[in-house]
Symmetry: C2
């Protein structure tokens, strides 16, 4: 008989990103929000009825599903909630990407799509972004088993106008198209308005970035009732109770404080636009980001060297070594004004030293 | 081209158990703990640094993994934590049950094993319990692709002595054996002591029952470093950040308050033994449960009728219609002394009425 190791699911061991732990550091490497969650979230947690914790939470993730539905003007049956949008997307891959045709996604994009496809033995084809890092809509018109792309795309930050998104959805009515809107709240326009028109569309969003709740693990998707029903069937066959009481309550409170949410998004956007100007004046080049990060390169700077130098100064940004096209780029999360001022000053210092 | 619905993962839509919502009810249907979590858990949540929430949590689930390891005297690399033991077991099925041979589990057991197997297209064979609801060890000696059973078993509550558990593990060195110890803290003896001896053993446990944290979704397993490494590889390919900050902190606090934990377990056990006596004097028959529930039948009572009558009185217990052998049984979760007194009195009232 063969040993049990022969039957282990073979995956490329994925290493999660660096989470440096220093008292004094500027952390611009994982697209976290620099502002705390709404005070309403904090008081909701602090005043929670602790006796609730001994009971199983709502398997249908009430009242959070209802709150999200209300917020977007859709029905509860159009909403699915999971443990971060990673959980939601993993479930979507498991549920819908079961044909033997390859799924399509951009070659420069969220690095988890091929990890999920590999783990679930889903064939895939990466479609190269054009020279300006734009998605070429025509690339997504061939026969395929499903489509996923972020909008705005990561790590470029580029937002694709809704008419182009719709073009991709419209020519692919026979497969599921997932629009991953993790960064939509920083200046993009959501495709949620299209779900009534296209039952093959699923839009995923997250509380991790714009709602400052990365630590609470809340993601969701919105789609046709049919799509959500299939997704729930698989979820209930995997783990019925995924969202804990704190996550459910926090999510509800976050949505209830819409004023704070919008204010914080505006602040991040304002800082981002200011940082763009500063970087430009220093000779950096970057696509026009509509997210909470800037993906920048410099014709005269070795960005890996800058990355390491900043690291020694306890300023953490993100560098991707692959694909080669982007290996002289840095992805810089937008922090507070103070953090970004320090960052810009340090970059100036680095340039002056060269 | 085929429509996208043709490629949806086909699952038997699973309906999660009833979660009645009444102000005044006695809920003895989902094996929740009648006592609140440790006061240390509550204060840990109330005093949490809310700024933590905007950051991603530790992907390696620190410091909870360290606390669990310390508690059981194993290394961090022997511990895997997930969103309830359902999440842990789903990951174990995905990671290790990949041969084409059937996995084995009892015919009367936790109703989720066949759901996972069906969803993941894993072949399985159910091994009938004997006439006293005992697992027949010899049934688990044939060629197979993996083994899972709860100890104590659910819904019978019967604990299998450790030498028999070891016999199953020892003759199956070439496949993974999962011992699901969701109810172990109410009088059983854990197989964790065997993990050094058998690298094919995985023991799963949960904070949902004995630690009164069903609402927080924390489960874990302990196994050889090799097993845990493979499991983490798959987890990191599925969702790197599953445990939110509240869950991590609550888990740590729960383990730190060992005195409270033991006191609450003792209380449940004491109540259970008293309820057994009461039920026996009313003519009920039941296996000798070492869990926080009693699986009882009565030679002269239609238990479905009793179930419905209790339901109208807002006392909720659990009934399983399948398999036929157990369709005149009720699974009664052990509540507080007060709750169980009311329950017993109501059952007496029912019997007197007949």
């Amino acid at each position: 008989m063969m040993h049990w190791e022969n039957f282990v699911r073979k995956v490329e061991p994925y290493s999660p990103g660096e989470q440096p732990q220093f008292d004094k550091m500027i952390k611009l490497n994982t697209n976290e929000n620099p502002y705390p969650p709404s005070p309403l979230v904090c008081s909701m947690i602090q005043n929670m009825d602790m006796d609730l914790l001994r009971r199983y939470p709502s398997p249908s993730v009430e009242p959070l599903v209802g709150k999200i539905a209300e917020y977007f003007g859709v029905k509860n049956s159009n909403v699915f909630v999971g443990v971060g949008s990673d959980d939601v997307i993993a479930m979507l891959f498991m549920t819908f990407f079961g044909s033997d045709k390859p799924i399509f996604f951009p070659d420069i994009t969220y690095s988890f799509y091929d990890v999920w496809a590999d783990m679930l033995n889903i064939p895939y084809e990466k479609k190269p972004l054009d020279k300006d890092f734009l998605i070429n809509v025509d690339d997504y018109k061939g026969e395929n088993g499903g489509i996923i792309f972020p909008n705005p795309n990561a790590p470029t930050g580029i937002f694709m106008p809704l008419d182009k998104v719709e073009e991709i959805i419209a020519v692919n009515r026979d497969i599921i198209v997932i629009v991953d809107e993790a960064y939509i709240d920083f200046g993009g326009i959501s495709a949620i308005s299209l779900i009534d028109k296209y039952d093959n569309l699923v839009v995923t969003q997250t509380f991790s970035k714009s709602r400052s709740l990365a630590g609470m693990r809340i993601g969701y998707c919105i789609g046709s009732e049919k799509v959500i029903k299939y997704l729930n069937d698989v979820k209930y066959s995997f783990n019925s109770y995924t969202m804990n009481q704190c996550a459910i309550m926090s999510g509800v409170a976050s949505i209830e404080d819409d004023e704070y949410f919008k204010e914080m998004c505006d602040k991040v956007v304002k800082t981002r636009e200011w940082v763009k100007k500063e970087l430009k004046s220093l000779g950096f080049e970057f696509p026009d980001s509509k997210s909470n990060f800037i993906f920048a390169t410099h014709p005269k700077i070795d960005c890996v060297d800058l990355f390491n130098w900043l690291r020694d100064e306890r300023i953490f940004v993100r560098h991707f070594s692959k694909p080669e096209r982007i290996n002289n780029y840095l992805r810089i999360t937008v922090g507070t004004d103070d953090e970004m001022r320090t960052f810009i000053n340090k970059v100036k210092e680095y340039i002056d030293m060269r």
